[in-house]
Symmetry: C2
Subunit: 223 residues, 2 copies
């Protein structure tokens, strides 16, 4: 990168951090747990959200912000589950930014418990942009291969939670979940990890319990 | 984006186009067919290259440029097949640029037949950067889902060839290859498409024949 490019990038990231920090404070004041979901395209972010929506909806009020380059397809899938979803189409941009989230916040009910933000499918760029979330989930699906954490370290370094998805496909794949987890923990020893199949329900109880206790912890520490 | 950001981006893309055009002319003069492979992480780019290497190596001289954010893992996999591979690690950047390819060209033998360039695993950013290739392949693996072309249109619009990979997993997945192909062709009617499994060999003969005839066509038109 040229010097000019570095300066422009620093400007963008600095501004983004400030906006994200304001958004996080608002979420904390309202007691909303915001979760930013990062992964490659097709790792199962929307399918995980559909499954979580069904599980959480009886006890909690939830909403979803959908980030995509084009189409409202993911928001439509979430709405079909009776969950409100707000679509952001970036029109080419490879990641969500805090100001994009800021623009839809007026539509988000103040009495929400969970706000899930599904980022653009991209294991690289979204890792650099704080959206004001409390928790960042990085998803890695079994068909992608267990060698991915060290090839795409920033997403694993900047997340609090690793979700290994599509566990139902493990019998057909050379994916070593233990190796993937160890590699991710080498990058970020604080990562909490879950292995799930949104289709069979495997591991989803644990993820649900974790989310409920995270919400409680957020409300206790920012009461 | 701010006006300043747009100008910087236009600068970057304009410079990249010029360098790419010079590189393409060099490849054409030498009769090397350069292929740029684009896809999400874990769609099977390296596995496809390993399988092609074995098939092509008896008749052709081939080489591979490996683009990754971190690690030399993919280059090592290719070298293990007896094929020369040159690694570019971008150290964070989400795509290869023409100048990165330009820097390794001195190492590439002038008598190659095929030069494959495996881009960073990312279905978004690499689409904007011409690397001087003759052909761009976009890979979409069956586990990623058949709804991806319209969600990530630029990669499909800017490619000449669509390779649907991991066909061996189709029995276990709700992936409709016909739908994926139709959607990609809606975006780019000129796309030539192949459905392959690098593991079982399904569809690989057709891809091999296509590559051999593309090389012949390149040498005929730039003789």
């Amino acid at each position: 990168m040229t010097k000019k490019e570095v300066l422009v990038l620093e400007d963008i990231l600095g501004t983004n951090r400030k906006i994200a920090s304001d958004i996080r404070n608002k979420f904390r004041e309202k007691g909303i747990l915001a979760v930013n979901l990062l992964s490659s395209p097709g790792s199962g972010k929307t399918t995980l959200l559909e499954a979580l929506a069904v599980r959480l909806a009886s006890r909690f009020k939830i909403g979803v912000i959908e980030g995509d380059i084009e189409t409202e397809r993911d928001a439509e899938r979430i709405r079909a589950r009776g969950i409100p979803a707000w679509q952001i189409t970036t029109g080419g941009a490879c990641h969500l930014e805090a100001r994009m989230v800021g623009r839809v916040l007026a539509k988000v009910p103040a009495d929400l418990d969970f706000l899930f933000i599904e980022n653009v499918g991209n294991l690289v760029c979204p890792a650099n942009y704080d959206l004001g979330e409390e928790l960042r989930f990085v998803l890695l699906s079994s068909p992608e291969g267990d060698d991915k954490p060290k090839k795409y370290p920033e997403a694993f370094l900047s997340s609090q939670v690793l979700v290994l998805t599509k566990a139902d496909l493990l019998p057909y794949l050379p994916f070593d979940a233990g190796k993937a987890r160890r590699e991710a923990l080498d990058i970020n020893p604080k990562l909490k990890s879950f292995t799930v199949s949104a289709l069979t329900g495997e591991g989803m109880d644990e993820l649900e319990v974790f989310l409920a206790s995270s919400l409680e912890a957020l409300r206790t520490s920012h009461a």
